[in-house]
Amino acid sequence: MPINKFITLESTYVPLPIENVDTDQIIPARFLKATTKDGFGDNLFADWRYNKDGSPKADFVLNKPEYTGSILVAGKNFGSGSSREHAAWAVDGYGFKVVVSSFFADIFRNNSLNNGVLPVIVSEAFLAELFAAGADNTIEVNLETQTITNKATGKSESFDINSYKKGCLLNGFDDIDYLMSVKDEIESYEQNRA
């Protein structure tokens, strides 16, 4: 299935300066009963975002009108916990194309990449400056050159991504397409090991 192609993006961002945001916060388990990938964005951070009666909690950042944009900036160790890809679907479904943090949990990072959402790892200092800037600040992310720029400070950092995954994102193809294309090799592996 083709995923979103990604090259560059400049956008305002939503700051979430909390560490260890786990997958149960990103999308609580009771929302995992769906059998499709649609609609998870509405429940992104549901327990922080809504009151019991479903009304928005005014003090949560997603409910503050001044914070907008398609980049989420989160505290260290984002996405720890479960393997639920629903977390990536929720982040994607809400409209985030990039998540910036100083550290990501492994499975979440894989899941994001598999859904065309780019996880960008930056230094603690870079992250702190993003949190310190105003709501109108923007970030520029360039996947081709693997750089991220804080427009308020003008500072840039380069980020890591393996070249295979980078190619997938730039071209909008995914791992299943690749694996299907090497099925012969998989079958000969099976025969040789038997």
């Binding site: 299935m1 059998t35 990938k37 890809e85 894989n110 070249s163 299907m180």
Partner: protein, 465 residues
Amino acid sequence: MAGKTLFDKIWDMHEVKTIEDGPSVLYIDRHLVHEVTSPQAFAGLKARGIKVFRPQNTFATPDHNIPTINQHLPIADEVSRFQVDTLTKNCEDNNVTLFGLGHPKNGVVHVVGPENGITQPGMTIVCGDSHTSTHGAFGSIAFGIGTSEVEMVLSTQCIMQPRPKTMKINIDGKLEEGVSAKDLVLYVISKLTTGGGTGYFVEFSGSAIRNLSMEGRMTVCNMSIEMGARGGLIAPDEKTIEYVKGREYAPKGADWDAAVEKWKALVTDADAEFDKVYNFDAADIEPMITYGTNPGMGVGITQSIPTLDTVEEASQKTYLKSLDYMGYAPGEKMLGKPVDWIFVGSCTNGRIEDLRVFANAVKGKKKAEGVTAWIVPGSHQVEDQAIAEGLKDILEEAGFELRQPGCSACLAMNDDKVPAGKYSVATSNRNFEGRQGPGSRTLLAGPLTAAACAVTGVITDPRTL
């Protein structure tokens, strides 16, 4: 040339190919499937017009959504029922073995795999579930995957994975009486933090690990994900082989002998190097309990909640937010704090040994007034054995109810939810905000500690029981 770690040996045997500066194509021996993380993957297959590539290597069981009482009745929650029915339909369409609701082999997927001999040493095992790490207790590479990856394995029996780094966690010495595998692993996580293992695959070794039963080893490997590790494994030994022997899907006859021969080679070479090594002394470990909202926030049960000055400045805000959620303050003692709920179960501590420990500890005592307790076997086989051993009677005499198997209150996805604000001592694996129900407050512990708290109604050191 330096020797190889056990992890590297198994990984290398399963590498179909590698992509330069990219992931490996890793062949998967066993794919376990449950109802929550698979429907979108099966739908993806359908959209491509293909069927499951190797159905004989795929085993499915519903566990997250199912009720733990009245399992003979249709699931009341319509959306849950639809998800479970979707699994049934997908398995039928693709010839996948399904241990459906009510089937004698139904249960939590990570309990079902080992007890049926589906899990074996030297294998690669995946499931759309982070606690797949449990199966590493048999000396296999087992890890959780996302739904895109479930689709990869269903369609090609392979997955694209970057090779993780290797870590050794060595625990020597003897665990004190009353200290369990769960305490051991909660202790390790409290030292490494929830991100300490990220990027690594862990091998647990040392005499304290060797001395654990297979159940105990599963508890340890199960929780390896809670330090962020990709998974954890333990080299197989006589105990492992003895456990697998005779189970339904285990090799038989000459195949068995050949398999055992191969399994004996599954050790880390003496001169192999790990990217990181930690050493711990089992004697330093006391019964553990968590006080916060991630599994790394644990202390010895006689200890106090860490004071603010022991927390890095940048993390203090998150730390206070977490304690605030729990209704605790820095510096408070854990002993004597009130407990409303007890949950014994899950893929971490829902096996027969755990039920035995709990039942023996509450035998002849009474459940404390005001405490609600759910004792949930990890599978039907565990349930049957608990009944046959008389554990059910012991529990009932002490005022506890043995429920039917499932994930239950480990995650708030079925009917078993802990109400907002209540304190729940749970033998499961995650104490995240709302994990057991919106607003619920979870304190992770081992089954013996859960028993001590259940009969006193407050946080109690099981060694004083």
